[in-house]
Amino acid sequence: MQNISRNMLRIATALGAMVALAMIATAQETVSQQPNAQTAVFPLTTKSPEARRLVEEALTLYLDRVEQAQAIEILRKAVQVDPDFAMGHEVLAQISLDSAEQVGEQAKAFATRQHASAAEQTIIEWYQDAGDHKLISAITKMNEVLSQYPRDKWVVWMTTWWLQNQAQYERVIAVYEHSGITDSPGLINNIGYNYAYTRQFDKAFAMMDRYVAALPDDANPQDSYAEILRLAGRFNQSIEHYRAALAINPDFYSSQFGIADTYSLMGDQARARQEYEVGFRKFPLPELQRILWRTREAASYVREGDYEGANRAFQAIADYAHARDNSQAEADTYRQMAEYQQDPKQALIFLGRAEAATQEGKNTMKIAISQELAQILRARVEIAVKMSNKEIADSSLERLTGMSDSSNDKLIELAYHGAAGTVLFSEKKYDQAISHLEEDVNNPFSLKLLQTAYLKIGYTAGAKRTNDTLANLNDPTLEQALIVPAFRKCLDTPSCNGNTKSASLKK
């Protein structure tokens, strides 16, 4: 696995960014404005050597050992020791699994940045800009730091991680390969995923072999190997590697949930839920991770068409999130409930609850609320189109257009394109729909429409490529559950859309 991001709940739209920083020497030092890029080491500025030592320890645990919970605890100590340790606050903001802490620590990092070096300030402002929808400024600052420290392990990690969350996989690979870093298990792990995202599985598996060799006694290399095998559709091998991870470390809970997710993708929902429950019984989980895997478990009911069961499971998650004052998670849960409802009117009721939760906005970054609202509006457009309710579709799309126009946020823009493509498709304006849907290729709903739109305009190569993508999508999310199994079934059904026969399911 990779470490979890702060915005992990937004499934295919996650934008969380993890920070990793490095460290050096004397207290209250100031970085040179123009360090030697070949050898420069990123500084950490604090008046406390103990605080620096703690952050260094946390970073190593977090990056190379994927011990996120432990790292968070240590970071909390570090910022207690030196409350003016701006980068300590920033790292904690980025890796915390508590939404209120994320918000608070980001504010502290920004407020205390004058105590930090110029490079640290640039990083804090980069993340602040990203959070404030100022993408161009964020990119500029990211590249400024990268140009000063292109071979620094922590800067390379920060950069590649942020780019990965921006879906810039090819650039991630370029930054890593340019860095010349070959001895960081954390980076090897990260880049392995990026090769997988770009469907370069041979390179991804080679990275995983190196990762396993580098840390033979650690569970995470086996866990990552399993996850990448699952992405490639090799489910049985994936489960073997998850079990190998648990054999190394029985407390490595993500592997337990990885097994559950994999059974769910394989279509064995009863076994999947058994495995989820084993995990929930055995392991105390941080809030966001509990919500994540409860959501996966709830989606298993959707996969087998048990919508009552799904409603009970999702409602329990929404209640839990509400009780924890986690408005974004509550909203996201209601939005997902809307997506699988068979009755569109009921779906609209759930979307109403989702929007109400965003209005409460408790313990959630402003950007997360905006992104969630965009997802809700997009879902409302889709449901309105199903209901042939042009009024709701148009008004929701108008709001979403306004949000997209006024923000520089990629995820909001994707939601807009998905919604606009859906409306145009329903109006049989296939060429125009395609131009929007092609912008939203991380969403199974958009992909499905895109495939049909390509067929409608006679672009069979595009339809084939989209078919292949959908058929080989192995992502344990609700969206995958709602689209992909039915699509695969269609591949085996003579009466189904003939063109999907051209898709090849990789096993």
């Binding site: 996650a14 990965q164 650039r171 995202y197 993500s254 997209s404 992502d475």
Partner: protein, 142 residues
């Protein structure tokens, strides 16, 4: 577990290209029509008389497909021949970093780079009043 971020393998990610100029260039916005003229070497100077030098990546690369389609309206081979014939006005660099380096130190240069390669050494030029992150921006898509 962060595969939630990005699970659709093999899909094409939409590109966002930025038009960049040197920091001394006061032009902050260019119309799409004028930009096409510049890339096709029909407009060869800025309003102040400075020569325009276009800097881009290899036109046969996947990153430049949007440029070929929306600015040159040529195939990669046609574009390569065209560039060869206009070496005084159009340069090819081997990386975005090289484009940025050249543009930042060359008065009148106009480069095209991936948005995520942007640095503080160059200015982003709007096209038809739009930045690369805005709806309807010309150089965005697959």
């Amino acid at each position: 577990m962060l595969l939630l971020v990005a699970c659709l393998l093999g899909t094409v990610q939409a590109k966002q290209l930025a038009i960049v100029s040197d920091k001394g260039n006061l032009v902050s916005n260019i119309t799409a029509t004028d930009l096409i003229k510049m890339f096709n070497a029909h407009s060869r100077t800025w309003p102040d008389g400075k020569p325009i030098t276009i800097v881009m990546r290899d036109p046969s690369g996947t990153d430049m497909q949007l440029v070929l389609h929306k600015l040159f309206n040529m195939t990669p081979d046609q574009a390569r021949s065209f560039i060869q014939a206009h070496r005084d006005a159009i340069m090819v660099a081997d990386s975005d970093d090289a484009v940025v380096r050249f543009v930042s130190t060359s008065r009148g240069a106009l480069g095209v780079i991936d948005l995520y390669s942007l640095t503080k050494d160059v200015n982003v030029v709007k096209i038809d009043g739009k930045l690369p992150v805005e709806q309807g921006y010309l150089l965005k898509g697959n």
